[in-house]
Protein backbone atom coordinates (compact mmCIF):
# COMPACT_ATOMS: atom_id res chain seq x y z
CA UNK A 1 0.00 0.00 0.00
CA UNK A 2 1.79 3.04 -1.26
CA UNK A 3 1.31 6.59 -0.11
CA UNK A 4 1.94 9.41 -2.53
CA UNK A 5 4.15 12.37 -1.90
CA UNK A 6 1.12 14.64 -2.11
CA UNK A 7 -0.64 12.60 0.55
CA UNK A 8 2.41 12.88 2.78
CA UNK A 9 2.35 16.66 2.35
CA UNK A 10 -1.38 16.76 3.08
CA UNK A 11 -0.99 14.65 6.23
CA UNK A 12 1.96 16.80 7.33
CA UNK A 13 -0.26 19.88 7.14
CA UNK A 14 -2.96 18.17 9.20
CA UNK A 15 -0.27 17.08 11.67
CA UNK A 16 1.21 20.57 11.72
CA UNK A 17 4.71 19.50 10.72
CA UNK A 18 6.85 21.66 8.44
CA UNK A 19 8.82 18.80 6.93
CA UNK A 20 12.00 19.34 4.93
CA UNK A 21 12.24 17.93 1.41
CA UNK A 22 14.44 15.12 2.68
CA UNK A 23 11.95 14.25 5.38
CA UNK A 24 9.11 14.15 2.88
CA UNK A 25 11.09 11.78 0.66
CA UNK A 26 12.09 9.53 3.53
CA UNK A 27 8.60 9.45 5.05
CA UNK A 28 7.00 8.66 1.70
CA UNK A 29 9.14 5.51 1.52
CA UNK A 30 8.88 4.57 5.19
CA UNK A 31 5.16 5.16 5.57
CA UNK A 32 4.53 3.16 2.42
CA UNK A 33 6.37 0.18 3.91
CA UNK A 34 4.68 0.53 7.30
CA UNK A 35 1.23 0.90 5.77
CA UNK A 36 1.82 -2.23 3.78
CA UNK A 37 2.73 -4.12 6.95
CA UNK A 38 -0.19 -2.81 9.02
CA UNK A 39 -2.54 -3.08 6.04
CA UNK A 40 -2.97 -6.81 6.70
CA UNK A 41 -5.76 -5.89 9.12
CA UNK A 42 -7.84 -5.32 5.99
CA UNK A 43 -7.86 -9.03 5.18
CA UNK A 44 -10.22 -9.74 8.10
CA UNK A 45 -13.96 -9.52 7.54
CA UNK A 46 -15.11 -7.65 10.64
CA UNK A 47 -18.48 -6.19 9.69
CA UNK A 48 -20.14 -7.80 12.70
CA UNK A 49 -17.37 -7.05 15.18
CA UNK A 50 -17.83 -3.96 17.37
CA UNK A 51 -14.78 -1.73 17.71
CA UNK A 52 -13.11 -1.58 21.10
CA UNK A 53 -14.00 1.82 22.52
CA UNK A 54 -12.16 1.17 25.70
CA UNK A 55 -10.06 -1.66 27.11
CA UNK A 56 -11.69 -1.25 30.49
CA UNK A 57 -15.32 -2.14 31.08
CA UNK A 58 -16.22 0.87 33.18
CA UNK A 59 -18.81 3.64 32.69
CA UNK A 60 -19.98 6.83 34.43
CA UNK A 61 -16.74 8.02 35.97
CA UNK A 62 -17.07 11.69 36.83
CA UNK A 63 -16.26 14.32 39.40
CA UNK A 64 -18.55 16.48 41.50
CA UNK A 65 -19.03 20.12 40.49
CA UNK A 66 -16.93 21.50 43.36
CA UNK A 67 -14.16 24.00 42.55
CA UNK A 68 -10.54 23.24 43.35
CA UNK A 69 -7.66 25.66 43.59
CA UNK A 70 -6.46 26.87 40.23
CA UNK A 71 -2.74 27.27 39.61
CA UNK A 72 -0.98 30.42 40.82
CA UNK A 73 0.05 32.63 37.90
CA UNK A 74 3.72 31.89 38.50
CA UNK A 75 2.99 28.25 37.78
CA UNK A 76 0.73 29.01 34.83
CA UNK A 77 3.57 30.86 33.13
CA UNK A 78 6.48 28.88 34.59
CA UNK A 79 7.28 27.33 31.21
CA UNK A 80 5.73 29.89 28.88
CA UNK A 81 7.87 30.76 25.84
CA UNK A 82 6.21 34.20 25.54
CA UNK A 83 4.17 36.04 28.13
CA UNK A 84 2.59 39.48 27.94
CA UNK A 85 1.00 40.62 31.15
CA UNK A 86 -0.98 37.64 32.32
CA UNK A 87 -1.59 36.35 28.81
CA UNK A 88 0.16 33.91 26.49
CA UNK A 89 1.50 35.62 23.42
CA UNK A 90 1.56 34.00 19.99
CA UNK A 91 2.25 35.22 16.47
CA UNK A 92 -0.85 36.44 14.60
CA UNK A 93 -3.30 33.75 13.57
CA UNK A 94 -3.64 34.99 10.01
Amino acid sequence: MAISRDEVLHVARLARLALTEDEVDRLTTELGAILEAVGVVAELDLVDVPPTEHPLDVVNVWGEDEPHESLPLDDVFANAPAREGDLFRVPPTV
Binding site: H10, R13, L14, R16, E53, H54, L56, V58, V59, N60, V61, W62, G63, E64, D65, E66, P67, H68, S70, L71, L73, V76, F77, E84, G85, D86, L87, F88, R89, V90, P91, P92, T93, V94
Partner: protein
Amino acid sequence: MSAWEPVVGLEIHVHLKTRTKMFCRCPVGFGAGENTQTCPVCLGLPGALPVINRRAVEWTIKLGLALGCEIRGHAVFARKHYPYPDLPKGYQISQYDLPSCVDGKVILPSADGDREIGIVRAHLEEDAAKTVHVGGRTGRIGGADYSLIDFNRGGTPLVEIVTAPDIRSADEAKRFLQLLRQTIVELGISDAEMEKGALRADANVSVRPAGSNELRTRTELKNMNSFTFIARGIEAEVERQVGVWESGGEVRQETYDFDAASGKLTPRRAKEEADDYRYFPEPDLVPVEPPAELVERLRGELPEPPGARIERLEGTLGLERSSVLVTGGLDRLWEETVAAGAEPVQAANVIANALMGAGVDPGSVSATELARLVDARDRIPRAAFDEAVSKLGEPGFSADPYLTQEAVSDESELEPVIARVLEANPGEVEAYRGGKDGLLGFFVGQVMKETQGKANPRVVSELVKAKLSA
Protein backbone atom coordinates in the same frame (compact mmCIF):
# COMPACT_ATOMS: atom_id res chain seq x y z
CA MET B 1 -40.27 36.56 -3.60
CA SER B 2 -43.39 34.77 -2.43
CA ALA B 3 -42.54 31.91 -4.77
CA TRP B 4 -39.57 31.06 -2.57
CA GLU B 5 -39.56 29.39 0.81
CA PRO B 6 -36.69 29.73 3.27
CA VAL B 7 -35.35 26.52 4.84
CA VAL B 8 -33.47 27.26 8.05
CA GLY B 9 -31.77 25.11 10.65
CA LEU B 10 -30.08 26.45 13.76
CA GLU B 11 -27.04 25.38 15.76
CA ILE B 12 -27.16 26.82 19.21
CA HIS B 13 -24.36 26.79 21.77
CA VAL B 14 -25.26 27.24 25.42
CA HIS B 15 -22.77 27.81 28.25
CA LEU B 16 -23.84 25.83 31.28
CA LYS B 17 -23.60 27.76 34.55
CA THR B 18 -21.94 24.95 36.47
CA ARG B 19 -19.57 26.04 39.20
CA THR B 20 -16.63 24.33 37.51
CA LYS B 21 -15.39 23.52 34.03
CA MET B 22 -16.35 20.55 31.90
CA PHE B 23 -13.23 18.47 32.45
CA CYS B 24 -11.46 20.04 35.41
CA ARG B 25 -12.60 21.67 38.60
CA CYS B 26 -11.40 25.18 37.85
CA PRO B 27 -14.15 27.70 38.59
CA VAL B 28 -16.21 29.06 35.72
CA GLY B 29 -17.17 32.71 35.68
CA PHE B 30 -16.58 36.18 34.41
CA GLY B 31 -14.47 38.85 35.92
CA ALA B 32 -11.57 36.81 37.28
CA GLY B 33 -8.03 37.89 36.43
CA GLU B 34 -6.66 36.60 33.13
CA ASN B 35 -5.48 32.99 33.29
CA THR B 36 -6.21 32.76 37.01
CA GLN B 37 -8.86 30.06 36.47
CA THR B 38 -6.56 27.53 34.90
CA CYS B 39 -4.87 24.29 35.87
CA PRO B 40 -2.83 21.53 34.22
CA VAL B 41 -5.97 20.08 32.62
CA CYS B 42 -7.37 23.21 30.97
CA LEU B 43 -3.88 24.42 30.02
CA GLY B 44 -3.23 21.09 28.32
CA LEU B 45 -0.03 20.44 30.26
CA PRO B 46 1.71 17.14 29.47
CA GLY B 47 0.08 14.22 31.26
CA ALA B 48 -3.03 16.08 32.46
CA LEU B 49 -6.28 14.13 32.06
CA PRO B 50 -9.94 15.19 31.83
CA VAL B 51 -12.58 14.26 34.40
CA ILE B 52 -16.24 14.71 33.41
CA ASN B 53 -18.31 17.22 35.38
CA ARG B 54 -21.28 15.23 36.66
CA ARG B 55 -23.59 18.20 36.95
CA ALA B 56 -22.93 19.15 33.32
CA VAL B 57 -23.99 15.68 32.21
CA GLU B 58 -27.15 15.83 34.30
CA TRP B 59 -28.06 19.27 33.01
CA THR B 60 -27.54 18.20 29.43
CA ILE B 61 -29.90 15.29 29.98
CA LYS B 62 -32.39 17.65 31.60
CA LEU B 63 -32.23 20.00 28.64
CA GLY B 64 -32.61 17.06 26.28
CA LEU B 65 -35.73 15.98 28.13
CA ALA B 66 -37.13 19.52 27.98
CA LEU B 67 -36.58 19.43 24.20
CA GLY B 68 -38.42 16.14 23.93
CA CYS B 69 -35.27 14.18 23.12
CA GLU B 70 -34.52 10.54 23.54
CA ILE B 71 -31.78 10.18 26.16
CA ARG B 72 -29.19 7.76 24.88
CA GLY B 73 -28.18 4.95 27.22
CA HIS B 74 -24.65 5.06 25.86
CA ALA B 75 -22.95 8.35 25.08
CA VAL B 76 -19.29 8.73 24.19
CA PHE B 77 -16.96 11.72 24.16
CA ALA B 78 -14.67 12.04 21.16
CA ARG B 79 -11.69 14.15 20.25
CA LYS B 80 -12.21 16.72 17.51
CA HIS B 81 -8.92 17.97 16.13
CA TYR B 82 -8.35 21.43 14.77
CA PRO B 83 -5.43 23.79 15.03
CA TYR B 84 -5.98 26.98 16.96
CA PRO B 85 -4.03 28.54 19.82
CA ASP B 86 -7.12 28.73 22.03
CA LEU B 87 -7.44 24.94 21.88
CA PRO B 88 -4.62 23.89 24.19
CA LYS B 89 -4.71 20.15 23.55
CA GLY B 90 -4.97 20.51 19.78
CA TYR B 91 -8.39 18.92 20.02
CA GLN B 92 -11.73 19.69 21.58
CA ILE B 93 -13.47 17.01 23.63
CA SER B 94 -17.02 16.74 22.35
CA GLN B 95 -19.73 14.17 22.03
CA TYR B 96 -19.85 13.21 18.38
CA ASP B 97 -21.60 10.21 16.83
CA LEU B 98 -22.95 9.04 20.19
CA PRO B 99 -24.45 12.19 21.83
CA SER B 100 -26.50 12.18 25.01
CA CYS B 101 -29.72 13.52 23.46
CA VAL B 102 -31.25 12.82 20.04
CA ASP B 103 -34.52 13.09 18.11
CA GLY B 104 -36.44 15.74 20.01
CA LYS B 105 -38.98 18.31 19.00
CA VAL B 106 -40.17 21.68 20.19
CA ILE B 107 -43.71 22.97 19.64
CA LEU B 108 -43.59 26.58 18.55
CA PRO B 109 -47.04 28.24 18.82
CA SER B 110 -47.53 30.35 15.71
CA ALA B 111 -50.18 32.54 14.16
CA ASP B 112 -51.10 29.73 11.78
CA GLY B 113 -51.18 27.03 14.45
CA ASP B 114 -48.49 24.97 16.13
CA ARG B 115 -45.21 24.54 14.31
CA GLU B 116 -43.04 21.57 15.16
CA ILE B 117 -39.29 22.19 15.11
CA GLY B 118 -37.26 18.99 15.17
CA ILE B 119 -34.21 18.69 17.42
CA VAL B 120 -31.61 16.50 15.75
CA ARG B 121 -29.32 16.31 18.75
CA ALA B 122 -28.09 18.03 21.88
CA HIS B 123 -24.57 17.18 22.90
CA LEU B 124 -22.02 18.21 25.47
CA GLU B 125 -18.58 19.65 24.74
CA GLU B 126 -15.99 22.09 26.07
CA ASP B 127 -15.55 25.70 24.98
CA ALA B 128 -12.32 27.09 23.57
CA ALA B 129 -10.26 29.77 25.32
CA LYS B 130 -10.31 33.45 24.41
CA THR B 131 -7.93 34.97 21.91
CA VAL B 132 -7.40 38.70 21.68
CA HIS B 133 -5.85 40.04 18.50
CA VAL B 134 -3.53 42.94 19.06
CA GLY B 135 -2.30 45.65 16.74
CA GLY B 136 -2.69 45.96 13.00
CA ARG B 137 -4.71 48.50 11.14
CA THR B 138 -8.19 47.47 12.17
CA GLY B 139 -7.65 45.22 15.13
CA ARG B 140 -9.22 42.43 13.12
CA ILE B 141 -7.55 39.04 12.81
CA GLY B 142 -6.28 39.71 9.30
CA GLY B 143 -4.26 42.71 10.32
CA ALA B 144 -3.15 41.70 13.83
CA ASP B 145 0.49 41.95 14.87
CA TYR B 146 0.12 39.17 17.42
CA SER B 147 -2.47 37.45 19.55
CA LEU B 148 -2.90 36.95 23.29
CA ILE B 149 -4.62 34.03 24.93
CA ASP B 150 -6.60 33.81 28.16
CA PHE B 151 -7.46 30.23 29.09
CA ASN B 152 -10.07 31.11 31.72
CA ARG B 153 -12.97 30.38 29.37
CA GLY B 154 -11.29 27.29 27.94
CA GLY B 155 -13.11 24.20 29.11
CA THR B 156 -16.43 25.84 30.01
CA PRO B 157 -19.22 23.28 29.55
CA LEU B 158 -21.13 23.90 26.38
CA VAL B 159 -24.25 22.20 25.05
CA GLU B 160 -24.72 22.29 21.31
CA ILE B 161 -28.30 21.99 20.10
CA VAL B 162 -28.87 21.23 16.43
CA THR B 163 -32.33 21.72 14.96
CA ALA B 164 -33.73 20.08 11.86
CA PRO B 165 -34.14 22.44 8.87
CA ASP B 166 -37.75 22.99 9.92
CA ILE B 167 -37.73 26.76 10.31
CA ARG B 168 -39.44 28.67 7.51
CA SER B 169 -38.79 32.34 8.20
CA ALA B 170 -36.46 34.73 9.95
CA ASP B 171 -39.24 35.63 12.37
CA GLU B 172 -39.81 31.98 13.17
CA ALA B 173 -36.11 31.53 13.88
CA LYS B 174 -36.24 34.45 16.26
CA ARG B 175 -39.33 33.17 18.05
CA PHE B 176 -37.87 29.67 18.30
CA LEU B 177 -34.71 31.07 19.86
CA GLN B 178 -36.70 33.18 22.33
CA LEU B 179 -38.67 30.12 23.37
CA LEU B 180 -35.52 27.98 23.62
CA ARG B 181 -33.77 30.64 25.64
CA GLN B 182 -36.64 30.81 28.10
CA THR B 183 -36.72 27.02 28.38
CA ILE B 184 -33.03 27.02 29.25
CA VAL B 185 -33.35 29.84 31.75
CA GLU B 186 -36.26 28.14 33.51
CA LEU B 187 -34.27 24.90 33.80
CA GLY B 188 -31.72 26.93 35.74
CA ILE B 189 -28.82 25.56 33.73
CA SER B 190 -27.63 28.72 32.00
CA ASP B 191 -28.11 32.46 32.01
CA ALA B 192 -28.36 32.11 28.23
CA GLU B 193 -27.41 35.75 27.77
CA MET B 194 -26.34 36.43 24.22
CA GLU B 195 -24.48 39.61 25.05
CA LYS B 196 -22.22 37.64 27.38
CA GLY B 197 -21.75 34.92 24.83
CA ALA B 198 -23.56 32.39 27.04
CA LEU B 199 -25.88 31.67 24.12
CA ARG B 200 -24.64 31.72 20.55
CA ALA B 201 -26.48 30.68 17.43
CA ASP B 202 -25.41 29.91 13.87
CA ALA B 203 -27.92 29.47 11.08
CA ASN B 204 -27.89 27.17 8.06
CA VAL B 205 -29.93 28.83 5.36
CA SER B 206 -31.22 27.71 1.99
CA VAL B 207 -34.27 28.55 -0.10
CA ARG B 208 -36.47 26.48 -2.38
CA PRO B 209 -39.54 27.05 -4.53
CA ALA B 210 -42.50 27.21 -2.15
CA GLY B 211 -44.24 23.89 -1.87
CA SER B 212 -41.32 21.76 -3.00
CA ASN B 213 -39.47 19.33 -0.76
CA GLU B 214 -36.03 19.68 -2.19
CA LEU B 215 -33.05 20.83 -0.14
CA ARG B 216 -30.81 23.19 -2.02
CA THR B 217 -27.27 24.24 -1.21
CA ARG B 218 -27.12 25.94 2.13
CA THR B 219 -24.87 28.58 3.57
CA GLU B 220 -23.82 29.05 7.16
CA LEU B 221 -24.25 32.35 9.01
CA LYS B 222 -22.05 32.93 12.02
CA ASN B 223 -21.34 35.59 14.61
CA MET B 224 -24.87 36.88 15.07
CA ASN B 225 -24.99 37.98 18.67
CA SER B 226 -28.61 38.98 19.20
CA PHE B 227 -32.01 37.64 18.25
CA THR B 228 -32.65 40.70 16.12
CA PHE B 229 -29.37 40.27 14.23
CA ILE B 230 -30.15 36.61 13.65
CA ALA B 231 -33.49 37.51 12.12
CA ARG B 232 -31.89 40.27 10.08
CA GLY B 233 -29.04 38.03 8.96
CA ILE B 234 -31.38 35.27 7.84
CA GLU B 235 -33.59 37.76 6.05
CA ALA B 236 -30.65 39.25 4.20
CA GLU B 237 -29.30 35.85 3.27
CA VAL B 238 -32.66 34.59 2.03
CA GLU B 239 -32.99 37.67 -0.12
CA ARG B 240 -29.48 37.18 -1.48
CA GLN B 241 -30.06 33.53 -2.32
CA VAL B 242 -33.37 34.22 -4.03
CA GLY B 243 -31.59 36.86 -6.08
CA VAL B 244 -28.88 34.38 -7.06
CA TRP B 245 -31.35 31.70 -8.14
CA GLU B 246 -33.61 34.14 -9.96
CA SER B 247 -30.74 35.57 -11.96
CA GLY B 248 -29.89 32.08 -13.11
CA GLY B 249 -26.97 31.62 -10.73
CA GLU B 250 -26.07 28.91 -8.29
CA VAL B 251 -25.79 29.33 -4.52
CA ARG B 252 -22.41 28.09 -3.28
CA GLN B 253 -21.74 26.43 0.04
CA GLU B 254 -20.10 29.17 2.04
CA THR B 255 -19.80 30.55 5.52
CA TYR B 256 -20.78 34.16 6.17
CA ASP B 257 -20.07 36.45 9.05
CA PHE B 258 -22.82 38.87 9.94
CA ASP B 259 -21.59 42.37 10.63
CA ALA B 260 -23.99 44.00 13.06
CA ALA B 261 -22.79 47.54 12.30
CA SER B 262 -23.44 47.39 8.57
CA GLY B 263 -26.10 44.68 8.63
CA LYS B 264 -24.08 43.01 5.88
CA LEU B 265 -22.95 39.45 5.32
CA THR B 266 -19.32 38.90 4.41
CA PRO B 267 -18.14 35.53 3.13
CA ARG B 268 -15.26 33.89 5.01
CA ARG B 269 -12.12 33.34 3.02
CA ALA B 270 -12.21 29.76 1.71
CA LYS B 271 -9.61 27.58 3.41
CA GLU B 272 -6.89 25.90 1.39
CA GLU B 273 -7.56 22.62 3.09
CA ALA B 274 -10.96 21.21 3.94
CA ASP B 275 -11.53 20.59 7.63
CA ASP B 276 -10.59 17.10 8.71
CA TYR B 277 -11.39 16.78 12.39
CA ARG B 278 -10.13 13.18 12.75
CA TYR B 279 -12.71 12.33 15.40
CA PHE B 280 -12.08 9.26 17.50
CA PRO B 281 -13.41 8.16 20.90
CA GLU B 282 -11.61 10.01 23.73
CA PRO B 283 -9.55 7.23 25.35
CA ASP B 284 -9.01 9.25 28.54
CA LEU B 285 -12.73 9.07 29.36
CA VAL B 286 -15.19 6.23 29.74
CA PRO B 287 -18.74 6.16 28.31
CA VAL B 288 -21.67 7.92 29.96
CA GLU B 289 -24.55 5.50 30.60
CA PRO B 290 -27.12 7.37 32.69
CA PRO B 291 -29.17 4.98 34.82
CA ALA B 292 -32.93 5.03 34.16
CA GLU B 293 -33.61 6.28 37.71
CA LEU B 294 -31.47 9.34 37.08
CA VAL B 295 -33.26 10.14 33.83
CA GLU B 296 -36.65 9.74 35.48
CA ARG B 297 -35.65 11.90 38.44
CA LEU B 298 -34.54 14.65 36.04
CA ARG B 299 -37.73 14.29 34.03
CA GLY B 300 -39.70 14.78 37.26
CA GLU B 301 -37.90 18.07 37.87
CA LEU B 302 -38.95 19.65 34.57
CA PRO B 303 -41.17 22.77 34.79
CA GLU B 304 -44.16 23.20 32.43
CA PRO B 305 -42.61 24.07 29.08
CA PRO B 306 -42.98 27.69 27.94
CA GLY B 307 -44.51 26.65 24.62
CA ALA B 308 -47.38 24.97 26.41
CA ARG B 309 -47.91 28.06 28.51
CA ILE B 310 -48.08 30.30 25.45
CA GLU B 311 -50.77 28.01 24.09
CA ARG B 312 -52.66 28.18 27.34
CA LEU B 313 -52.67 32.01 27.39
CA GLU B 314 -53.23 32.46 23.68
CA GLY B 315 -57.02 32.27 23.89
CA THR B 316 -57.19 35.14 26.36
CA LEU B 317 -54.33 37.33 25.21
CA GLY B 318 -53.58 36.44 21.61
CA LEU B 319 -50.31 34.98 20.38
CA GLU B 320 -48.25 38.16 20.47
CA ARG B 321 -49.01 39.12 24.08
CA SER B 322 -48.76 35.52 25.33
CA SER B 323 -45.40 35.06 23.69
CA VAL B 324 -44.03 38.28 25.11
CA LEU B 325 -45.19 37.37 28.61
CA VAL B 326 -43.93 33.79 28.53
CA THR B 327 -40.59 34.32 26.78
CA GLY B 328 -40.01 37.31 29.02
CA GLY B 329 -40.56 35.12 32.08
CA LEU B 330 -43.55 37.32 33.05
CA ASP B 331 -46.47 34.95 32.82
CA ARG B 332 -46.42 33.85 36.42
CA LEU B 333 -46.71 37.41 37.65
CA TRP B 334 -49.46 37.97 35.11
CA GLU B 335 -51.42 34.96 36.37
CA GLU B 336 -51.12 36.12 39.97
CA THR B 337 -52.12 39.64 39.03
CA VAL B 338 -55.20 38.39 37.22
CA ALA B 339 -55.98 36.12 40.16
CA ALA B 340 -55.80 39.24 42.35
CA GLY B 341 -58.58 40.77 40.29
CA ALA B 342 -56.93 42.64 37.40
CA GLU B 343 -58.40 42.68 33.92
CA PRO B 344 -56.28 40.15 31.92
CA VAL B 345 -55.42 42.21 28.82
CA GLN B 346 -54.82 45.39 30.83
CA ALA B 347 -52.60 43.43 33.20
CA ALA B 348 -50.64 41.92 30.33
CA ASN B 349 -50.09 45.36 28.78
CA VAL B 350 -48.97 46.92 32.02
CA ILE B 351 -46.57 44.08 32.79
CA ALA B 352 -45.10 43.80 29.30
CA ASN B 353 -44.80 47.55 28.73
CA ALA B 354 -44.81 49.74 31.82
CA LEU B 355 -43.22 47.33 34.26
CA MET B 356 -40.53 46.12 31.87
CA GLY B 357 -39.96 49.65 30.61
CA ALA B 358 -39.24 50.70 34.18
CA GLY B 359 -36.75 47.83 34.51
CA VAL B 360 -38.48 46.29 37.52
CA ASP B 361 -37.57 42.74 38.47
CA PRO B 362 -40.86 40.85 38.08
CA GLY B 363 -39.82 38.42 40.79
CA SER B 364 -39.95 41.14 43.47
CA VAL B 365 -43.38 42.51 42.57
CA SER B 366 -46.47 42.05 44.75
CA ALA B 367 -49.24 40.86 42.43
CA THR B 368 -51.93 42.27 44.72
CA GLU B 369 -50.53 45.80 44.60
CA LEU B 370 -49.92 45.48 40.87
CA ALA B 371 -53.55 44.43 40.35
CA ARG B 372 -54.75 47.50 42.23
CA LEU B 373 -52.60 49.75 40.02
CA VAL B 374 -53.83 48.07 36.82
CA ASP B 375 -57.36 48.64 37.99
CA ALA B 376 -56.74 52.32 38.81
CA ARG B 377 -54.66 53.01 35.74
CA ASP B 378 -57.22 55.32 34.09
CA ARG B 379 -58.30 57.06 37.22
CA ILE B 380 -55.01 58.25 38.61
CA PRO B 381 -52.60 60.74 37.06
CA ARG B 382 -50.17 59.17 34.54
CA ALA B 383 -47.20 60.50 36.47
CA ALA B 384 -48.46 58.88 39.65
CA PHE B 385 -49.05 55.61 37.81
CA ASP B 386 -45.58 55.62 36.27
CA GLU B 387 -43.96 56.40 39.59
CA ALA B 388 -45.93 53.67 41.33
CA VAL B 389 -44.96 51.12 38.69
CA SER B 390 -41.30 52.03 38.97
CA LYS B 391 -41.46 51.41 42.71
CA LEU B 392 -43.36 48.13 42.52
CA GLY B 393 -40.23 46.16 43.17
CA GLU B 394 -39.41 47.88 46.43
CA PRO B 395 -39.95 45.84 49.56
CA GLY B 396 -43.21 46.62 51.35
CA PHE B 397 -44.53 48.67 48.43
CA SER B 398 -48.12 49.85 48.84
CA ALA B 399 -50.26 51.33 46.10
CA ASP B 400 -52.30 53.32 48.62
CA PRO B 401 -50.64 56.77 48.36
CA TYR B 402 -50.99 56.66 44.55
CA LEU B 403 -54.59 55.47 44.44
CA THR B 404 -55.82 58.52 46.37
CA GLN B 405 -54.56 60.78 43.61
CA GLU B 406 -57.13 61.55 40.99
CA ALA B 407 -56.42 62.38 37.43
CA VAL B 408 -57.95 65.60 36.20
CA SER B 409 -61.07 64.72 34.21
CA ASP B 410 -62.89 68.01 34.73
CA GLU B 411 -63.57 69.44 31.27
CA SER B 412 -63.61 73.03 32.44
CA GLU B 413 -60.13 72.58 33.81
CA LEU B 414 -58.81 70.81 30.72
CA GLU B 415 -60.40 72.91 27.98
CA PRO B 416 -58.14 76.00 28.36
CA VAL B 417 -55.04 73.81 28.29
CA ILE B 418 -56.19 72.05 25.16
CA ALA B 419 -56.93 75.37 23.51
CA ARG B 420 -53.43 76.59 24.33
CA VAL B 421 -51.83 73.50 22.86
CA LEU B 422 -53.81 73.68 19.63
CA GLU B 423 -53.02 77.36 19.28
CA ALA B 424 -49.32 76.75 19.70
CA ASN B 425 -49.24 74.03 17.02
CA PRO B 426 -51.17 75.35 14.03
CA GLY B 427 -49.21 73.25 11.53
CA GLU B 428 -50.08 70.00 13.28
CA VAL B 429 -53.70 71.04 13.60
CA GLU B 430 -53.88 71.60 9.89
CA ALA B 431 -52.19 68.30 9.16
CA TYR B 432 -54.59 66.47 11.45
CA ARG B 433 -57.55 68.00 9.77
CA GLY B 434 -55.95 67.02 6.47
CA GLY B 435 -56.19 63.37 7.54
CA LYS B 436 -53.13 62.65 9.72
CA ASP B 437 -55.07 60.96 12.53
CA GLY B 438 -51.86 59.74 14.12
CA LEU B 439 -51.22 63.25 15.43
CA LEU B 440 -53.88 62.74 18.08
CA GLY B 441 -51.30 61.11 20.31
CA PHE B 442 -49.04 64.13 19.88
CA PHE B 443 -51.76 66.53 21.10
CA VAL B 444 -52.61 64.30 24.04
CA GLY B 445 -48.93 64.09 24.93
CA GLN B 446 -48.58 67.87 24.87
CA VAL B 447 -51.58 68.27 27.16
CA MET B 448 -50.20 65.64 29.53
CA LYS B 449 -46.94 67.56 29.58
CA GLU B 450 -48.67 70.84 30.31
CA THR B 451 -50.60 69.28 33.18
CA GLN B 452 -47.52 67.50 34.50
CA GLY B 453 -49.17 64.15 33.88
CA LYS B 454 -52.18 64.90 36.01
CA ALA B 455 -54.77 64.90 33.23
CA ASN B 456 -56.81 61.81 32.48
CA PRO B 457 -55.48 60.89 29.03
CA ARG B 458 -58.71 59.18 27.98
CA VAL B 459 -60.75 62.31 28.68
CA VAL B 460 -58.14 64.55 27.02
CA SER B 461 -58.21 62.37 23.97
CA GLU B 462 -61.99 62.64 23.68
CA LEU B 463 -61.92 66.41 24.12
CA VAL B 464 -59.16 66.96 21.56
CA LYS B 465 -60.98 64.80 19.04
CA ALA B 466 -64.23 66.71 19.58
CA LYS B 467 -62.50 70.05 19.39
CA LEU B 468 -60.66 69.34 16.15
CA SER B 469 -63.61 67.84 14.36
CA ALA B 470 -65.66 70.86 15.33
